[in-house]
């Protein structure tokens, strides 16, 4: 199929205002009479709140409202209180908030609120938290033996014991990953205003999910949903960190009490320790294989640190535990575990980078032990059509092997030579694959054909990755017009159809398909509207290449503009509707080869080249897809080599800044090679599927495997620190 708009490298539609610095992010907006909000946050990792005294703060200059945990009797949709009530469960938990005339006054008043804490012992490690008699993060826990289990998921398949008995070799390894921040550059920010006459609340916020915000706010503020309008702003990066409510309810409640708009800008420091970073994990894998490398059994115990409040890691983690491989006998137990850390949020492919770091590292261990090429062991086990994947679904087609082979070929895997390099430097290659399931969820769009023949697309999906540009391409393709003839509008909760959040790599897949269907619906309406005038049944009227014509009859065509204005005369505006939740899961597979240089004496690792291949179904906009792949891989380099939360012995975060929480800079990025595989077999628009998250999944493992290839050191704990390499090379200690 030849496309005219799909597959083109179209610059982002919101790009011109972004390069001009005109895009208004949350912190850039101000309203008349606006107040500033500030929060007081817990200095303890775990403590009972004995008393909160606000009288001094209330009397401070400029202060108009002070709230404490009593303001929010219910917790948010994920079970996290907005302001701590009886107890604080992590350092940085918000305890009280203030609205004042200026930011300085608000901050000063917040710090004048006096809180008496009764400190409690705290638990900071999932293994400790799982022990009998561990400190309880939640007093009301029902399981007396394991009071800190927040959630359990199991995947069982085949007969694991028999399979282990029949295996030639069994490998047991434990892997660990750290807490990390998603690394978005725009800290959380919200602005809220309540109209005193109507009682209607408007919230402007940097969020991935405005409709979820609305539902949460209705709950937390005890307001009817119809009284709340959430306006999703341009988002300065999110990567899963802006899925849940953060300071929105605080701004809203302060605005309600003060009777004036309130803006809350979270400081970078607070964003580090007080929002929802990505949780740590400990993963124990036991894998049985045949001598030829065939995987026969997998037993896994996955412990995901969910911090002080519930999370969804266990379920997703369990479903991904087999990787993009055929595993007939499985017994996976996966837990979300409470600790006195921040509530764990999502981060690009929730738990998948964790699980694949473990799995792909172990697969490498197995390949080396068996003397099999790491590429071959992956190809041998790669998922094929009909195999069971993702904790139950059947693979609809075979693509994993191709993705893995492509990465290897493009990286020159067969020609690779481990070289000793210059001086103390050693080079190595590492291969890893990974997968992610893309779920469309509730997706919807409206498409209007305007009387000048242009198309307006309206969705309620937050545009993070440039999906609006892809929607324009999809609509342009559907009507056979130029991309410039399409406008895409991200509406708010009052002005657009409901959508799930911009997470799970679902937007292009689900909402893109809704846009395509809405276009088809609009085309059908056009045909119906013109059927009488054109004297043919609607099903003979064809809308393509910007024309409306009658099938089989040359010469009788209208331009889209003519057709739209006439059809509108008969039927009113032509508004196509696309709404769906019926798409099956799409499985997206990614594979990467890292080429690294390791300094044997200092342990420093440099990623020289990263070759990424990915099954994207269809690259609606290859430039934007490459941008996702490279950006995710860069995040993966950070996860692999330098990023981690470091806590002090008192449970407080020590590296709450960008100097010590080290994200890769412009001199830390490798040469990228990107191969996009477009088989277009899923139900997404023109065969497209989610692309944003999968490329983070294999990176850390690929680097770990390359480090092993270079210097023979197997690091099972992220990040791979220079220090651990040096220690291992000097024979332990």
């Amino acid at each position: 199929m030849r496309f005219t708009a799909v597959g083109k490298r179209v610059p982002r539609l919101d790009g011109p205002e972004k390069v001009a610095g005109r895009t208004q992010f949350g912190a850039d907006i101000a309203l008349p009479g606006m107040l500033w909000g500030a929060t007081l946050r817990s200095t303890h990792a775990h403590a009972r709140i004995v008393r909160v005294r606000t009288d001094k703060a209330t009397k401070m200059p400029g202060v108009l409202a002070v709230i404490t945990g009593q303001a929010f009797p219910t917790s948010d949709g994920e079970g996290v209180p907005v302001l701590a009530r009886d107890k604080v469960r992590f350092q940085g938990e918000a305890v009280a908030a203030v609205a004042a005339e200026t930011e300085e006054q608000a901050r000063a008043a917040a710090s004048a609120i006096e809180v008496d804490y009764a400190p409690l012992p705290y638990v900071a490690d999932v293994r400790e938290a799982m022990k009998r008699g561990a400190t309880r993060v939640h007093d009301e826990s029902e399981d007396p033996k394991h009071p800190n289990i927040a959630g359990v998921a199991e995947v069982k398949r085949g007969d694991v014991e028999a399979a282990f008995a029949a295996a030639d070799l069994v490998f047991e390894d434990t892997f660990e990953t750290p807490w990390v921040h998603q690394g978005f550059l725009e800290p959380h920010v919200s602005l809220a205003a309540m109209d005193p006459a109507s009682g209607r609340l408007t919230v402007w916020t940097s969020t991935q999910a405005q409709f979820n915000q609305r539902a949460d706010l209705a709950n937390l503020l005890h307001l009817p949903m119809s009284h709340i309008r959430v306006i999703g702003l341009p988002v300065g990066g999110a990567f899963g960190g802006k899925n849940a409510v953060c300071v929105e309810p605080i701004a809203a409640e302060l605005a309600r009490r003060a009777g004036r708009p309130v803006k809350v800008v979270v400081s970078r420091r607070d964003d580090f320790f007080a929002t929802r970073p990505c949780g740590a994990s400990v993963m124990e894998l036991k894998t049985g294989v045949k001598k030829d490398g065939t995987l026969v059994a997998l037993q896994a115990r996955l412990l995901f640190d969910t911090g002080g409040y519930p999370g969804a890691q266990h379920g997703v983690g369990a479903s991904l535990a087999q990787g993009p491989y055929r595993v007939l006998n499985m017994d996976v137990k996966s837990y979300s575990v409470y600790t006195n850390r921040p509530p764990a949020g999502a981060r690009r492919a929730l738990t998948s980078p964790h699980v694949h770091f473990a799995l792909e590292s172990q697969l490498d261990i197995i390949a080396h032990a068996l003397g099999i090429d790491p590429l071959q062991i992956r190809l041998r086990n790669a998922l094929r059509k009909g195999d069971t994947a993702l904790g139950g679904m059947e693979m609809p087609y075979t693509v994993a092997g191709k993705v893995i082979r492509t990465a290897a070929e493009k990286a020159g895997w067969q020609r690779r030579r481990r070289s000793s390099g210059r001086g103390a430097k050693a080079r190595g290659f590492g291969l890893a694959a990974g997968h992610w399931s893309v779920w469309a969820g509730a997706s919807s769009a409206w498409v209007q054909v305007n009387e000048d023949g242009t198309i307006s697309v309206v969705t309620g999906a937050i545009n993070l990755t440039g999906t609006n540009t892809s929607f324009a391409q999809i609509a342009a393709e559907s009507f056979g017009i130029l991309v410039e003839r399409v406008t895409v509008h991200q509406g708010d909760t009052d002005t657009s159809p409901r959508n799930d959040g911009s997470w799970g790599s679902r937007v292009l897949f689900g909402v893109g398909e809704a846009v395509r269907r809405a276009c088809e619906d609009a085309k059908r309406q056009l045909a119906e509207g013109l059927s009488e005038e054109m004297g043919v049944p609607a099903d003979r009227i064809l809308v393509s290449e910007g024309q409306v014509s009658v099938r089989g009859k040359a010469g009788r065509s209208l331009t889209l503009a003519e057709a739209a204005s006439r059809a509108a005369d008969y039927r009113g505006a032509i508004i196509g509707r696309g709404a769906l939740s019926d798409l099956p899961f799409a499985v997206a597979v990614a594979a990467q080869v890292a080429e690294v240089e390791v300094d044997r004496e200092t342990g420093q690792v440099e990623v020289k080249r990263l070759t990424c291949s990915q099954d994207v179904g269809r690259a609606i906009n290859p430039m934007s897809v490459e941008g996702q792949v490279e950006g995710a891989a860069s995040q993966g380099i950070g996860y692999g080599l330098c990023e981690e939360y470091i806590y002090g012995t008192d449970g407080t975060l020590l590296n709450d800044n960008f100097m010590d929480f080290r994200m890769p800079t412009s001199v830390d990025h490798p040469q990228y090679q990107v191969a996009l595989i477009e088989e277009g077999l899923d139900g997404g628009p023109f065969g497209a599927k989610g692309v944003g998250e999968p490329p983070l999944v294999p990176t850390a493992a690929a680097i770990a495997n390359a480090v092993y290839d270079a210097v023979g050191v197997r690091v099972k704990q992220l990040p791979i620190k220079p220090e651990s390499i040096v220690r291992a090379l000097s024979g332990g200690r």
Binding site: P11, E186, R268, A632, S666
Partner: protein
């Protein structure tokens, strides 16, 4: 509170008089008092570069500088790079090469690149990467940003070598 003092400097080619506190940072004066919100505050510690502006043509972190220290000097913000309604060819290059994703780092990134190119119109890859170490970007992985800058530098090499843009 200490009284505000009046400071005078040029911003985007125009002389500006601002009353501000003595310890007020340049980023605050630009954003809150002059409405130039193109400089973003991402970290408040000079580590992310989102607040980068040019001071007499050189990049500085406007969150790490007091406005009073800009007295008598020339400040260029992203808003001043091209006349209203137009884009500087460097901005155009960022757009066309997919060097912009979320856009939060973009103004600072473009200004750092501008300062480099003004000093060194035809920088090496290494020069480009080194000029951007103070500008974090979490979205792109930096490659497309470096390509955009390179492409702009190539396009200024004289007509014969001018690359046609799509």
């Amino acid at each position: 509170m200490t009284a505000e003092t009046t400071m005078t400097f040029r911003v985007n080619g125009r002389e500006c008089q601002v009353a501000a506190g003595p310890a007020e940072r340049l980023v605050d004066v630009l954003r809150s008092r002059l409405g130039l919100t193109g400089a973003k505050e991402g970290c408040s510690t000079g580590q992310c570069g989102a607040c980068t502006v040019l001071l007499d043509g050189e990049p500085v972190a406007s969150c790490m500088m007091l406005a009073a220290d800009a007295e008598g000097r020339e400040i260029t913000t992203i808003e001043g790079l091209a006349p209203p309604g137009e884009l500087h060819p460097l901005q155009q290059a960022f757009l066309e090469h997919g060097a912009v994703q979320c856009g939060f780092c973009t103004p600072g990134m473009i200004l750092s690149a501008k300062a480099l190119l003004d000093r060194k119109p035809h920088p090496s890859d290494e020069d480009i990467a080194r000029a951007l170490v103070g500008n974090l970007c979490r979205c792109t992985g930096y490659r497309k940003i470096c390509e955009a800058i390179k492409s702009y530098a190539r396009s200024t090499r004289g007509r014969s070598k001018r690359v046609r843009k799509r």
